[in-house]
Symmetry: C2
Subunit: 107 residues, 2 copies
DNA sequence: TCCTCATATAGATGTTAATCTATATATGTT
DNA sequence: AACATATATAGATTAACATCTATATGAGGA
C-alpha cells in the first residue's frame, strides 16, 4: 500500500522537470531519436542522455536501438496508469487512505 | 508556452514526494486539520508544516483558519486542471510541441 | 495577565538532482 | 584497420530539498 505512493512518486518526480515535460510532449506524436529531441533544447547531449535515463528508469519512456540511433517512445500503458492513479488520488474513493479505520478517525 | 511547462512542473514537483501524495489522498475525502493529518506520519510537526506550505504554494491545497486550527482542503479545480494537462501532454493533440514547425522537423 | 495549545518560521545538516566537461562504447563506413 | 558518428558513462560542481531542533506567533481559557 505504501509502495503505491513510492512507485508513483518516483514517476511523478521524473515528470517534475520542465524539460522532461517537454520531452514527453515531443514524444506524444510518435517515437523520436535523441538528436531530434535535442534540437528543442539548449542543454548538452549528456544532459539529454541523463533526462532520458530518468524517464526510462521509471518506465514512462522506452527505447529501441537501430544502428547508431536510439529511438525513444512513450509507454502509453504506464502513462495511462499514472493518470488513473492521480484521478483516484484526488477522488473520494473506497481505497482512500481515510477508509483505513485502523489509522484514521475520519468520521 | 514555455510557461505552461514551468507552472505544471512546479505543481508536479509538489506531488513528487510520497508523503505529499498521501496527504492529497487524505484530503480527498474532505478537509482536515494539521493534527489529523500528522497522525498518519512519523515525521515532526514542522516537517508537516513544510509539506503543507509546498502544497499551498502551488495552489493545489488551500487553508481555512478557525480558532487555533488550520483546516486544509484540496483545490479541486486545480487538481482537475493538472490531470487535463497531463492527458493533453501524452496525447497527440493540435497544440503538441511537434506541431510548432519553426522548431521541429517532424514529418 | 499568564498559561496552554496548534501551527509557523528560522537555521542547520545531509541527501538528491541538474548540469557541465571529458571520455568511453558501439555501430557504420572507407 | 582506421575513422566518424550517435549515444552513454564518469566525475565534479552547484543548487534544491527533506528533515530535524529550537523558537516564534497567535488564539483561548483560567
Amino acid at each position: 500500500m505504501k509502495q503505491k505512493y513510492d512507485d508513483n512518486a518516483r514517476i511523478i518526480k521524473a515528470l517534475s522537470d520542465p524539460s522532461r515535460l517537454r520531452i514527453i510532449d515531443i514524444l506524444s506524436c510518435g517515437e523520436k531519436c535523441a538528436c531530434d529531441i535535442l534540437e528543442h533544447f539548449d542543454f548538452t547531449q549528456p544532459t539529454l542522455s541523463h533526462h532520458m535515463k530518468v524517464l526510462m528508469d521509471c518506465s514512462i519512456v522506452e527505447c529501441r536501438k537501430e544502428g547508431l540511433w536510439s529511438y525513444y517512445y512513450l509507454n502509453n500503458n504506464n502513462c495511462n496508469r499514472l493518470i488513473l492513479f492521480l484521478m483516484n488520488l484526488i477522488t473520494d474513493t473506497e481505497d482512500c487512505i481515510c477508509k483505513d479505520k485502523s489509522k484514521c478517525e475520519c468520521k
